[in-house]
């Protein structure tokens, strides 16, 4: 991103508002598709919505805090396991345990984040990766408590016994609320300080902001929402596996943000939609899905680094500018 692009982008974030003209019809479309489509489509939509929340929580760190987390799956996994273990080992009623998952993820974010924000840029990325791998290893190897590599299954009726369509609607409500909350945070004074530290930490510090503390708060918030996503995912499948905290999910999230568009709030959402649809349909046709994905990523990074949001913004500008 050139300096000029950055400047216009900063101005855009400051001015942007939630466009209800767009959000309300979008919600209606999702509900309509969910109503008419098959149950397998509903499940896929549920997964897309959950991943959109996960990618958006990562996007809060990447686009706004300018912190590249390479271990965001840890908090997805902690959310799933926090919920699952509260039910299985803690005997907490599942409805109540729904709150435990995100809180455990936020706590994990606090512990790891306190360590990670001591570093910047590439060191930060490497340390978040290491933290996530530790989480994965513990989940994978601690058989007596976490069930090890076989994970935990069969402890509850998936989706609390809701139908696929019913659960999709519930997830739509939760994810919408969470995304609005995330957007509210981005626009709040706290979000302003997160952006300030992300853009120029030294200037922000000179203005009296505690850069590390702001980053830690951002990290915990992102971990919390990743935990919500993890919990929803765990309820969807009625299971928890160590892979939820694995590098695969982290990379999925990163790739979604890049495909959808860095430096754009909607990037995480677009990315999740595009990525999941591609993954579903391409992997049906071609066995080597990762190879295709790698080539797509290379093409995006080299040719269209602003991702889908950037391309669509350019298209809109070309079409005379709707906004």
């Amino acid at each position: 991103m050139t300096g000029q692009d950055l400047k216009t982008w900063r101005a855009k974030v400051a001015r942007a508002t939630v466009s209800w003209r767009f959000v309300v019809p979008a919600l209606a479309v999702v509900l309509a598709i969910n109503w008419m489509a098959s149950t397998s489509t509903s499940t896929m939509m549920t997964e897309i919505m959950i991943m959109a929340l996960f990618a958006s929580s990562l996007n809060l760190l990447m686009s706004f805090g300018h912190m590249v987390s390479f271990g965001h799956a840890a908090y997805f996994g902690l959310g799933a396991y926090g919920f699952t273990l509260a039910v299985v080992r803690g005997g907490v009623p599942p409805e109540l345990a729904l709150a435990v998952g995100p809180l455990v993820a936020a706590l994990g974010g606090l512990v790891f984040g306190a360590l990670c924000v001591r570093l910047t840029q590439i060191y930060f990325a490497m340390l978040t990766l290491a933290c996530a791998q530790i989480t994965y290893t513990v989940l994978f190897q601690w058989y007596d408590f976490t069930g090890g590599d076989t994970g935990i299954t069969g402890f509850m009726i998936p989706r609390f016994g809701l139908s696929e369509k019913g659960y999709a609607t519930a997830v739509l409500a939760v994810v919408t609320l969470c995304l609005l909350a995330l957007w509210g945070i981005v626009k709040s004074p706290l979000g302003l300080s997160i952006r300030a530290v992300g853009q120029d930490r030294y200037r922000a510090e000179a203005l009296g902001l505690g850069a590390r503390r702001v980053q830690l708060v951002a990290f915990v918030i992102a971990a919390f929402f990743a935990g919500v996503a993890g919990t929803l995912y765990s309820v969807l499948h009625g299971a928890a596996f160590p892979d939820y905290a694995g590098l695969g999910i982290t990379l999925d999230g990163l790739i979604m943000v890049v495909i959808g568009g860095l430096n754009s709030f909607a990037g995480g959402i677009w990315g999740a939609i595009i990525y999941e649809l591609l993954a579903t349909f391409v992997s049906k046709v071609i066995h080597e899905w990762e190879l295709v994905l790698g080539l797509i990523l290379l093409a995006i990074c080299l040719a269209a680094p602003a991702g889908f949001a950037g391309v669509s913004a350019r298209l809109r500008a070309m079409l005379g500018g709707i906004r």
Binding site: L119, Y123, M126, A130, C131, E288, W289, L293
Partner: protein, 290 residues
Amino acid sequence: MVLIQLVNGLMEGMTLFLIASGLTLIFGVTRIINFAHGSFYMLGAFLTYELVPLIGPGTLWGFFAAVAVSAAAVSALGILFEMTALRRIYGKDGILQLIVTVALVLIIRDLVRMTWGANSVPVQMPDALMGALVVGDTYFPLFPIAIFAAGLTVVLAMIWVIYFTRAGILLRAGTDDRGMVALLGVNEKLIFTAVFAAGAFLAGLAGGLSAPYGEVNYLLDTTIIVSAFIVCVIGGLGNLYGALAGALVVGVTKAIGVMYFPRLSMVLIFLIMAAVLIARSLGRQGGPAR
């Protein structure tokens, strides 16, 4: 038993150093973290698996020749990648740079899975290194000792190149101030490509050398890159001696930790890293990334 694990740990530490040093050198000059470095390591191991039977199965020279050829092939791939992709994104957003190397990880992983399948492949150990060295009543396996020695040779050669040759001067100058080197009339692009080639070579070498002693499968890339990252954090990126110290500490801790806390040896390494970070909030001797 502790002593034997110590030897194994030193060997793992030495291969980790070969990888981490490549990461560090590349980062020092290009400011890019090559996430695909673990993939280069993995490719080195698989190519060695293919080449050992062709060049000289079971023989000592056959093994080392196969490793060297594999490393050279990996290095060639590195050059291709640097010239076609990386060269276009130097100085761009760090996130993009990471994602480009991640794309390479995905591509290599699928190609490896297509070629060699999902199961581990066995790499033949040279006959001469099958035995053990008997000291008192302890049997030290010969192979890790030999690999440690081979690694040490590479390290010494590396130090010689970096501190006593013209190429080394250019490398150090490029790390300190790229712009100045270019101003002085040195072909900056050539330095970048050469450093990337050398880093890929080292990773391929490490993969080939340790191939007979562990599982060689398509999941190797991410396991290795995480360990290499930890080594770099402990040692401080761009710091060769730090990487050496970090690699040996990680290797030995892993090997000995497995004996006492079989399930938690990775956690132990994490604790060391956390301690190092808290002691020096920017990594051992590492400055903030520019």
